[in-house]
């Protein structure tokens, strides 16, 4: 029973994180939120008796890919600095 409650909470948390990932102004935060979704998912996998998947998701889905995201964000920010000053990476200005 308590598993169910925890799982439900996890699910709600994941959806909230997804919302943040989609809508948070700061891209860094959004990327971290995406990683968090993966992390919570790996917890969920543990509950679902899938430790292998949980490990993979934690290491790859939430770990490595987040780092790649960071690298790319960083690179893009550098690009932007070279050119004009804009925070386009975070939010596309309305045209």
């Amino acid at each position: 029973m308590e598993f169910k409650i925890i799982t439900t909470l996890l699910g709600i948390l994941m959806l909230a994180m997804s919302f943040i990932a989609i809508y948070h102004k700061k891209m860094i935060v959004a990327v971290i939120a995406t990683g968090a979704v993966g992390l919570f998912a790996s917890i969920m996998y543990l509950f679902l008796a899938a430790p292998d998947v949980a490990m993979t998701e934690a290491a790859i889905g939430s770990g490595l890919s987040t780092i790649i995201f960071f690298y790319v964000l960083n690179r893009i920010r550098q690009n932007d600095k070279e050119g004009r000053e804009s925070d386009e990476i975070d939010e596309i200005p309305n045209k």
């Binding site: 996890l10 997804s18 996998y45 899938a50 890919s65 050119g83 386009e88």
Partner: protein, 118 residues
């Protein structure tokens, strides 16, 4: 329990799709894609779950008898493993593309990459 997780999975799939279809920022679209993938993985693992089953690792003696009724389905889990790695590959490649696209036009707006059309 698996109902909860599968619901979560489907909702995350939809959230991912929503991000892909509405957000203009390339990175945000890739995030959406990542969510979409994660959602599918959750759905897959949920399907593998068997009520009362344990992880398919036979590290206890009693699991060796009548194994089939004690463990969860290992096959979808194996599939998910593969899918996660593939997802990483695709995401990494997409990010590399996004980076290069930004180099080209100094923009991350998907609307600005319409040189090819019609």
């Amino acid at each position: 329990m698996e109902y909860i997780t599968i619901t979560t999975g489907f909702l995350i799939i939809l959230a991912g799709l929503w991000a892909i279809m509405t957000r203009k920022n390339l990175i945000r679209i890739i995030i959406g894609f990542s969510l979409f993938d994660t959602g599918i993985h959750i759905v897959m693992v949920s399907m593998a779950f068997v009520k009362g089953g344990v992880a398919p690792i036979l590290d206890k003696k009693e699991l060796l008898t009548d194994t089939a009724h004690k463990i969860v389905d290992p096959v979808p889990q194996a599939l998910v493993l593969t899918a996660i790695v593939i997802g990483l590959g695709v995401t990494a490649l997409m990010l590399a593309y996004a980076m290069r696209l930004h180099q080209e036009k100094k923009s991350l707006d998907i609307e600005s990459f319409k040189d090819l059309k019609w």
